[in-house]
Amino acid sequence: MKQEFKVLGTRPIRPDGLDKVTGKAMFGADKSVTGMLHARILRSPHAHAEIVSIDTSKAEALAGVKAVITGDDFADVENRWSRYTMQNCMAQGRALYDGHAVAAVAAVSKTIAAEALKLIEVEYKVLSHVMDVDEAMAPGAPVLHEGVKARKLGDDVSGNTVGYYSFGHGDPEKGFAAADEVIERTFKTAAVHQGYIEPHACLADLGSDGKGELWCSTQGHYMVREVCAEILHIDASQLRVTASEIGGGFGGKTTVFIEPVALKLSQKAGKPVKLVMSREDVFRASGPTMSASMDVKIGMSKDGKITGAHAKLRYQGGAFPYQMVMMGAMSAFAAYDLEHVQAEGWDVMTNRPKMISYRAPGAPMAVYAVESVMDELCQKLELDPIDTRLLNAAKEGTKSSYGPTFKAIGLVEALEAAKAHPHYSAPLAPNTGRGVSCGFWFNFGGQVSVSMAINADGTVNLIEGNPDIGGSRASISMMAAEALGIEFDRVRTIVGDTASVGFSDVTDGSRVTFAVGIATINAAKAAIKEMCQRAAKIWEIDAEAVEWVDGAAQPTGHNAGNFPPMSLAEIAATSGKTGGPIAGHHEGAPDKAGVSFGVHLVDVEVDPETGFTAIKRYTAFQDVGKAIHPAYVEGQIQGGAVQGIGWALNEEYIYGEDGRLQNAGFLDYRIPVASDLPMIEPVIIEVPNPGHPFGVRGCGETAIVPPLAAVANGVAQAIGVRMFALPMSPPKILKAL
């Protein structure tokens, strides 16, 4: 049943828009307070070294320096995951990667802080390092941390192997035996950075009484509060964290890198401390995503049916234990309805920065490998790539490769839209290839709190706890307006600090529109119930005899009473006399987020002289369930696609033999620029999620998944040679030619 909406599906101007086009919006580095100090962090020049000693006395003696800290200033924390986070923020005993923080200074000016860093004397004993995932996993590799190897693994893998996951059903070998064609390939993808334009920044003020204020750029200020409270050994209630406007995150701001350092410096100096990462710091010491080495084997019958599939994914996630490959293994074959499938994954440590989520973490590389083999099979068996995917596509009732049986999903709809789109049948120019790929992301629910106040003038304030990265204040206001039956511009949504509204999980997993949306609808329901009761009192009838229709209370029928509808504004106007303020709130942990599938089509042109790949045309189809604000949904699809294009063609962490990062800047780590790209045509498909009142699935992450293989498949067709490693930068393509 298709629902009719008044507000949802329109494209209002976002409420934070004016501030952002006039320069008024306050991002992480934009806040200053009187008397604040400026902090700088000293970082290891070695990929792996024992810190024999650190002498900070000369730095401390420099005029204007108010505090110097090292790893020794941090007491141990019980939870091992928090301890890893702390030791990533400030090394204790060993520096584990090039750029690992070893000391920090707070001083009265940036210049003095920078001078002081030069006066800190660190004696290192350099240890052997390992950067590549396959080398790190091999027995005999230098092990980053002892005693953290995944349980039940044998001696064939090193102690860096901190996770092992396997998903699937049936017997792939049986499937391969039944195939007409079996292709097995090995792929490599480079570590890439989320590349948000705003570096991490915070302003911390922690007093000796344990009361603290923290302003920072983050995807989750409650997460920041909890992790920092644990690391600093203070009460969560005493640390108020306010999320600044956030200049991009894409998963990279779902942890802390500098906040505990700034708080500790502030505590030690007794003054507010501002700490802002440089771009070089961001590349060297904030989380990139994993690099990967992967084997994928798929068997197919002559008519295109997949008979068996097996993937082995080896991801490296940097210098600490982590758990992320599982989502690659779960995503790898999610698009297909398979009888015999297995996907295995290994999480491996190396001497690189500790990885953190990057949009659909774990999925893009696994899907790249699978969709590349799919493409090769289609070529070999002379099959249409979209028809072949349709033949195998997962649909409602399919037992997914990672276990659950799918509810209503939109992959078939996306594939059919792609097949019918003029892009798919347009003629191709010389040196040009057309690539296709599917993509998938789970989407999450999770903990959320929303507080809604109905003001006496008939307007509505809403406080939620999830930083707004891409327009969520607009979509949440829209859902509130829809649920209450009022105009969009009557609602103002703000992101509250940690002291003003209940806990909310991090803005991640494409969960905000889904989860905050459900909480908003429930908060509105609570307020509506109260407003109906007020109307019932005024009319002197039973509350049960009042219902809410189009933004007004009205009697349920003639028997209930003969009263004209009483609008939200009218009820609000007398609220002071009918029982006091009217509000609604909701705290919960909604589940049932619907998975989202996408299909991308790309035409690439490869210059045989230079090896440069130009994106000539790009069309992205995605099932989003319900697009609340279609313009921002389009924006998510376009932005995700372009990040994937960068991953496919240019972006990579380049390390020297010495384990030092060689391209820690935007000049040498090249993200896509405007002149690299054509328009990106988004096609929104709406197969409602049965788990959300408005059908919302979440849309932010799926779009980064298909581009890697779509571009690779296009390049393979354009040059007649298939590449098995990303990025396919010009020198690498020239070499392949």
Binding site: V21, T22, G23, E198, G248, A631, G639, F666, V673, S675
Partner: protein, 160 residues
């Protein structure tokens, strides 16, 4: 090191400040003049988030010394349009939903305004090459380019 006294004009107002000899204009704007619209995305002139104009010429303010502002006319995003009367570029960026996180937006506005001053009728390709120095990680540039071209159309007095 003694500080340098600089007299300049920022967004139409005469301004005086003291700065270190090696202090970049971006830091002067942000730390001394409280104009935080220009952002530091890289500090090396690669991202365009700190774009301002000096005597009408588009520059990365992280690569210009504060002392070089002496006697010049500086324009930052804060000087373009106002909350009551937005510049067409600002309005079209909003109407096209051409910003997500918005941290690159000030630089995009300054750079696009400089483009349209030089070339009031840019092609899509010209707009893309002009803005190639302004990184945006959220949007994929599609809506930004559309917004700039439609603002240009309006500014030329043509119908969109």
């Amino acid at each position: 090191m003694s500080k340098i006294h600089v007299t300049t004009n920022v967004n139409g107002d005469s301004v005086e400040f003291l700065c270190e000899p090696d202090e970049v204009l971006l830091d002067v704007l942000r730390d001394r003049l409280n104009l935080t619209g220009a952002k530091e995305g890289c500090g090396t002139g690669d991202c365009g988030a700190c774009s301002v104009t000096i005597d009408g010429r588009l520059v990365a303010s992280c690569l210009v010394l504060g002392a070089e502002a002496e006697g010049r006319v500086i324009e930052t995003v804060e000087g373009i349009g106002s909350a009551k009367d937005l510049h067409p570029l600002q309005r079209h960026l909003l109407e096209h939903a051409a910003l997500q996180c918005g941290v690159c937006t000030p630089g995009i506005i300054v750079a696009a305004k400089a483009l349209l001053a030089e070339n009031p009728d840019p092609t899509e390709e010209e707009a893309r090459y002009w803005l190639a120095g302004n990184l945006c990680r959220c949007t994929g540039y599609d809506k930004i380019i559309r917004a700039v071209l439609s603002a240009a159309t309006e500014m030329r007095g043509e119908n969109a």
